[in-house]
Amino acid sequence: MNGVVPADTLVSAPPSPWTEFRHAFAKNHGALAAFVVFALIATGALLAPLLAPHDPVQQFRDHLLTPPLWQAGGMATYPLGTDELGRCLLSRLLYGARVSLLIGLCAVLLALLPGVLLGLLAAFHERWLSPAIMRLMDILLALPGLLLAICVITVLGPGLVNTVIAIAVSALPGYVRLTRAAALAERGKDYVTASRVAGAGSWRLMFDTVLPNCLAPLIVNATLSFSSAVLETAALGFLGLGVQPPLPEWGSMLSAARDYIERAPWVVTMPGLTILVTVLSINLMGDGLRDALDPKLRSAS
């Protein structure tokens, strides 16, 4: 017989999930660029004490409202200029990055861990725990994100730690719902039944069997809620309810800058641009992650 393709001359072995993911992510140029930008920001935040030309809270009374380097009147000592109290803008932005990224990370973790646990519990104990947990989440969800955070701040008072708690509380219901939905979907599948028949207990089922398969949407959501957390931190700071001075924070920098729109626009544009670029890069990474991790979602774009 001629022309028949023998069965064993097939393609090479299928790539590992990690390699597949890396390829898919790298193909998305936006996500890759975003990753680079974010890495730069994170590095800037980490190395702020080394990179910042000045102490962020130090006020240089002789150089109030100095324009940035490239404008008339600017000087190299203050590359991005100074604010209304003579503080170096670049230094404040770098230290502000520490604050924002730290709060974001902590808030996400603080919401993720209990959220996943509650979601799994709700998925596996549908009769008693599930309605109770979901009703509780409904109450939290009755207030939209920022308002809920404001509510928590009203009770706890402003400050860095309270900001983390407030943002975590407003992000919690999202994780619970997501985990519950994903876990419920997995629970019906055969491999879970097989585990249960083999004698796996409730906890083992939840964490060993089901959770690893729910990771994809969780990772994507965590990334996107990280960017929300950065935005909310800035929003709270802008309203005076979040991180308090003298700790440099991008949002509170903007709040103080409102009066200087005409005289010193750089005090307004710089912090805001930083927030935008940071949030944008995280969002683009999240989009790239989603496209790479979930093939179903990938095809729609």
Binding site: R135, L136, D138, I139, A142, L143, P144, G145, L146, L147, I150, C151, I153, T154, V155, G157, S227, L231, A234, A235, F238, L239, G240, L241, G251, L254, A257, R258, I261, E262, P265, V268, T269, P271, G272, I275, L276, V279, L280, N283, L284, D287, A300, S301
Partner: protein, 336 residues
């Protein structure tokens, strides 16, 4: 449909009760003496303190206090502002329409710009137009609302002097309140140029507030439309020899809108949060700004009322969206 409405209302009751509990607990959770917090005065002498305790019923068990609070709410009494000594509900009635007007304008803008852009991007998938729209949408979605407001003020109010910086209408006008909606009231008044002034005052805040919903709606419309375009029934519609416009709108968009309706509820939430920020920047006299000022001044009855009302509005909107979703998606309406 009625069944759906009733079942939704049934799950709503416990949530509503929960909200009242939260609002009730809000003031009592704040560290410090509740009398000082609720009355706003410090260092009261013991006699006055005790008298106030009894007067405000704070010596009663919590459950009794809660019940009293709920009864109070049922009568529409939201308490008195610590700062102005006026009834909160009266202040609220004046400020609420302002926020509604702003939010409605923002949502309208978001829909009128976001939907067509998303639709066009889906139809021209892969083109430079599509990529540009998606890029803009991603940026819009990542935008810090308060900064965006400041930038637009810098550009249009300060730089070009096209729009005013704050308020709902020029201070030179004296508009009697008829509906509470400045656009309508100014049109009804006989002051020349009032309507235009109110429109100009509304434009920038509405654009700022509507930017994030606009971006989200554009993205959702695009992805929803792309899914729909691949469905078999689109092919059938074309096999019937129908005009392309009809196929896209009557068959395609009709089904693409279904998931978008679910997103609307979330967007209203985003609007409520964004309203707080937008009103602060533009000094727009709505409940968002009122809430923030009250927090700053420790006017706790106002804060309590503001939280309660926001939650109520949000829940109602979500209920409406749920019902709208059932209207728009026949598969949810019962039958087989």
């Amino acid at each position: 449909m009625i069944r759906l409405l009733l079942s939704r209302l049934a799950t709503l009751i416990p949530t509503l009760l929960g909200i009242t509990v939260v609002a009730f607990a809000l003031i009592r959770l704040i560290p410090g003496d509740p009398i000082e917090i609720m009355v706003g005065e410090r260092r009261l002498d013991p006699a006055a303190h005790a008298a106030l305790m009894t007067q405000m019923g704070l010596d009663q068990p919590l459950l009794v206090q809660y019940w009293a609070y709920v009864k109070q709410l049922a009568h529409g009494d939201l308490g008195k502002s610590l700062v102005t000594r006026e009834a909160v509900s009266a202040e609220f009635a004046v400020l609420f329409p302002a926020t509604v007007e702003l939010a409605a304008a923002a949502l309208l803008l978001a829909l009128c710009v976001g939907l067509p852009l998303g639709l066009a991007a889906a139809l021209k998938r892969g083109s430079w137009f599509d990529q540009a729209v998606m890029a803009l949408a991603t940026v819009g979605h990542s935008m810090p609302v308060f900064w965006w407001g400041l930038i637009l003020i810098m550009a249009f109010s300060v730089g070009l002097e096209w729009t005013p910086v704050s308020g709902r209408v020029g201070i030179e006008f004296d508009i009697p309140t008829v509906t509470g909606f400045m656009l309508i009231d100014s049109a009804l008044s006989d002051e020349a140029g009032a309507f235009v002034s109110s429109l100009l005052h509304l434009v920038l805040p509405a654009v700022v507030l509507g930017t994030i919903p606009m971006a989200v709606i554009a993205r959702m419309t695009r992805s929803s439309m792309l899914e729909v375009l691949r469905e078999d029934y689109m092919r059938t519609a074309r096999a019937k020899g129908l005009a392309p416009a009809r196929v896209i709108v009557v068959h395609g968009l009709r089904n693409a809108l279904i998931p978008i309706v679910t997103v609307l509820g979330l967007q209203v939430g985003s609007l409520l949060g964004g309203a707080v920020l937008t009103e602060t920047i533009f000094s727009w006299p709505g409940i968002g700004k009122w809430l923030i000022d009250a927090i700053g001044r420790r006017d706790y009855p106002v804060v309590q009322a503001g939280i309660l009302v926001s939650a109520l509005v949000f829940i109602t909107v979500n209920l409406v969206v749920d019902l709208l979703y059932a209207v728009v998606n026949p598969r949810l309406r019962g039958g087989r």
